[in-house]
Amino acid sequence: MSKPEASHRHKVGALLFRHETILLLVLLAEWFYFNAVGRKFGTLDNTFDIMRHSAEIGLLALVMTPIILTGGIDLSVGSLLGLCAILFGKLWRDAGLPLPLAAACTLLIGLLAGGLNAVLIARLRLPALIVTLGTYSLFRGFAEAITRGVDTFTNFPDSFLALGQQHFAGLPTQVWFFLAVAVGIWLLVHRTTFGRSLRAIGFAPEGARYAGLAVERRLAQAYILAGIVAALAAIIYTARLGQAKADAGTGYELFAITAVVLGGTSIFGGVGSVHGTLLGVAAIAVLNNGLVHARQPREMAGMLTGALLLAALSASALPKLLAKFRPLRHSAAPPSSP
């Protein structure tokens, strides 16, 4: 919810509330359809499958939410996941670091990579879409160059693989990490001044600066957070797969953006919620998993996700459009001041 609890519904809150309710209904409808079609869909095992398969991508969607709330975007998280996976493997196998230390260094590398985006976007105020398009190629390029397309990192010890493949206290291990990050980011966005500042920057970047908010610092924090969580996702991905390869995480950023927008967050910034994103991730994960159980081909998942995204967008745009005439929206950077 973009507001502290609303004593009564008002226009923006109502709209958002309605969007998430629709998405929850869609999620339930998916669940019951696949439950009817696939014999084993409703089992606990399958629920764990869904959680385990959507943990890394869910992390990226979670951390993409604060960025999109500021009206920015980050295309580089997928490539950063690949780069961090490679560096994690290299630190462990070639540099001989113990796994926990290699993991810590990887998180640091994620922080620095996020820092690069932060410096260009927050300090130099360059358009986020193009900066992260550049770092999208840069990080993937480094991953390919370091491994020369050949090298992969495997046979990790079982203790590490447990992180991605075993259970812990009833849930797949990585789900605990996911839940921790989810709760953390939900609190950050909805219950702290950091979240409040992100929204102000999203609605009116200049207005936020004149209101005494530390705009540059907050933007930088959002992109650095994205770097750290992408590194965490890389470690979990490597544990789940038992292998680190240069093309890890390809296309994950587009999935994350889809989940965030499906969850009701506006691409122009300001309006949006973390629990909306969670619903978006769940809706897509259930769809992908359910289609296998319903014996449908893989391609159906992509098509239905795209259609779901368009439907959600049109549903949220129609009332606003019918209510009053609205000037044309622009996709990219906020309007340049005359």
């Binding site: 409040r196 500042s197 102000a200 207005g207 005494g212 300001g270």
Partner: protein
């Protein structure tokens, strides 16, 4: 001769709000017809109806004696109606010549573009209104006044029969205002009808032939200008007697709070500022647009930090690196451009009020809703803000109430120094006096107030002391009750006798 424009009991409503209720209005050829009214009285809706931006619900509109059924912006333009908006509707990334051309040429997409012709026409139009602007320059690089003049050139270029000017002098310098008056008189002599909208009554008396006053969507009367005086006009606008507009200070100013010696900032052109500000005193900062007053405020608030001179607050030398450090040191700034820098319309009132004091109200960065609610309700009560509740979005408030919320945001920081930049710009007369009372009360409570205003009567009436800026520095200081002409002369930089 048939009137250029004839509106007969036009009504227009947006949902429940009835913006225009049976307004009749005529514009004769070769006439400057002023349109006056408080904000929300229906002025901008009337313009939008005339320019075809909004279809009218009821009533008739005749242009050049011909009844027009459904009017679109393009058709209105074709019928010779041109409008100069307060916010210039120009293309920042394109050249001046192209901006003018896009407004004048009514061509289909397949027409060729003759750049030389565009350049010549733009140069001629700009020359006609005496503006030395390079037609090839990108509009992005022009100052606000220059952009305003480009708008006027566009209106002239369309050979419009009806020219609507919405607060055209809001950001013009004195010299450019005189130029504008000459252009308006030139238009009138060529039989063009001008609808002139402004809050500055002295302009209306200097320029208009007739004046129509709108109140709550209805026309309360049209009179020739010389048959009515200022007080009567204000009474028609506000519908009640406006008592002493500018409350007077009771107590003498306190000790020195802020002193600037030789302060300057190379990037914004402000230099050698020597100024002192006392607690409980309202220091007016007069001067023309472009004299650097807002730039000085931005130095004090850390938006463009000073790179010369010394700033002493309460006797200690301080450096204000950014807005956060300004707020921390008790300096607050209510910005001039309310739409872009003031209240964030999409966020609730509570969020707007507490936006400047996040660190104080929410120490551990955790939001505390109860505290925020309580603080907001206090300000809503104290400042008399008409709002649905602390969670209502800023956009649901009227202009005057938004300004009060902006003020509340900065009062919440309990500042020692409050900088107000055009506090009553675009606010109607009724709300203005309320704001004046609040400012005077704040000074009485010991706050040091620096008030920037281009409205001469306002700055003269409110300030205990007055500083005048020109060309980025302070050129003169006046005690209370100084003569308007001396102040204007200082602002214009002419010798006293040539004022």
């Amino acid at each position: 001769m048939a009137p250029l424009l004839q509106l007969s009991n036009v009504t227009k409503s947006f949902g429940a709000v009835r913006a225009l209720r049976g307004v009749s209005f005529t514009l004769e050829p070769g006439e400057v017809h002023a349109l006056l009214g408080e904000n929300g009285a229906g002025k901008s809706t009337l313009i939008k109806v005339i320019t075809g931006a909004h279809p009218l619900d009821d009533g008739e509109i005749q242009i050049g004696g011909q009844l027009i059924t459904h009017l679109t912006p393009a058709r209105a333009r074709a019928l010779g109606i041109a409008c100069i908006y307060q916010q210039p509707a120009l293309f920042p990334d394109l050249s001046v010549a192209e901006n003018v051309a896009l407004r004048l040429e009514k061509t289909s997409p397949v027409h060729g573009v003759r750049w030389a012709e565009r350049q010549a026409r733009a140069k001629e139009l700009l020359h006609r209104i005496g503006a030395e602007i390079d037609p090839a320059a990108e509009v992005r690089t022009l100052s606000m006044p220059e952009q305003q003049l480009v708008e006027i050139a566009c209106a002239l270029g369309t050979g419009a029969r009806v020219v609507i000017m919405d607060e055209p002098t809001a950001s013009l310098t004195q010299k450019e205002q005189h130029l504008l008056f000459a252009v308006v008189r030139d238009l009138r002599s060529h039989g063009v009808g001008v609808i002139y909208i402004s809050h500055r009554l002295e302009e209306i008396f200097a320029l208009a032939d007739r004046v129509t006053v709108l109140r709550d969507g209805q026309s309360v009367g049209t009179n020739p200008v010389d048959a009515i005086n200022e007080a009567a006009l204000i009474k028609m606008m506000v519908g009640r007697e406006v008592s002493a507009i500018y409350p007077l200070a009771e107590s003498a100013p306190g000790e020195r709070v802020l002193s600037l010696t030789g302060v300057g900032c190379s990037t914004s052109g402000v230099h050698r500022i020597d100024l002192e500000l006392r607690a409980g005193e309202i220091l007016g900062l007069a001067g023309l647009v472009g004299a650097g007053r807002t730039e000085l405020a931005q130095i004090l608030f850390g938006l463009t930090p000073a790179d010369a001179g010394e700033i002493r607050l309460g006797g200690q030398t301080i450096h204000i690196a950014d807005p956060q450090s300004a707020v921390a040191q008790g300096i607050a700034y209510v910005p001039e451009d309310r739409r872009r820098h003031g209240v964030i319309l999409e966020m609730p009132i509570a969020a707007n009020v507490t936006m400047a004091i996040h660190s104080r109200l929410f120490p551990g960065t955790w939001l505390r809703d109860a505290a925020e609610r309580a603080l907001t309700l206090d300000f809503i009560r104290d400042l008399g803000v008409k709002a649905a509740g602390p969670q209502a979005p800023g956009g649901s408030l009227s202009g005057g109430n938004q300004q009060k919320i902006a003020l509340a945001r900065w009062l919440a920081t309990k500042p020692r120094i409050l900088i107000l930049d055009e506090p009553t710009q675009g606010v109607d007369v009724g709300a203005k006096s309320e704001i004046y009372k609040t400012i005077r009360q704040l000074a009485a409570d010991g706050l040091a107030v620096l008030m920037i205003s281009s409205d001469l009567p306002e700055v003269l009436g409110m300030s205990d002391r007055l500083a005048v800026m020109r060309g980025g520095t302070i050129v003169a200081e006046f005690p209370r009750g100084a003569d308007a002409h001396d102040v204007m002369a200082a602002a214009l930089g002419q010798k006293k006798e040539a004022a």
